[in-house]
Amino acid sequence: MTQLDQAFAALADPTRRGIVLHLARGEASVSDLVGLFSLTQPTISSHLKVLESAGLISRSRVAQLRPCKLETEQLKAVTDWLEQVQEIWESNYKRLDALLDELKQAQKEDRKK
């Protein structure tokens, strides 16, 4: 499994997405997250382990509280891919919008006849 695979797998879980979203606003300690998500400390810790091994977060080895920090590079790889996919689909859908307008117009004119 590549690290990008791991990142996607890690982000497939709603709690872990919530943690990442929270860390996007700034660093947080395990106890901050325990309070925020109303989950037990072992549960939060296991989520953090998954995020850490996927390269999405890092944890300070220095400070005693070991605050968690978002690793934006890895998250960027994920969002870049999603943006790319989104652009391809959206460019198709814009053509589909135009086609549907045409079909609606044709249907209206048919009804007038």
Partner: protein, 162 residues
Amino acid sequence: MKPAEVSTPSDREVLVKRSFDAPVNLVWQAYTDPVLMRRWLAAMPGWSMPVCEMDIRVGGRYRWRWRDENGQEFGFTGEMLEVELHSKIVHTQLYDPGDCDFGSMGGEPSIITVTFNETNGITNVATLIKYASMADRDAAMSTGMTEGMEMNYQSLDGVLAG
């Protein structure tokens, strides 16, 4: 209409949601009539779709092929697994590399589920792509990777909320 929303509900899936300002019968037509499909369904910008064959019934097969201006081609083929008029299409999808070298996209077919849902003249379309394995999704993903985009927390919020 709001732009398409892309999310990854699991490590093997990609979900794309979009609404269209049209009744479901017209959206269905645009998704199933080859003449109409060729007008909007491009695998990549700038590619034409010389082949679009559809047999919309359970067990029916389809074949899509795109060509770029240099004449190189690739496509998808598959079989219809479920067809519910104006509501749902489930089909397999196998990558046919043609003469394009996009790398392997995996040998196992993906399963595509498209659901249609009309409310007050607006049709919501959800497309769920389920890859045969995470490796297949990884291969499909790596073909679309680009460099140099800036981190965008706004789009991140959308992705993560999905």
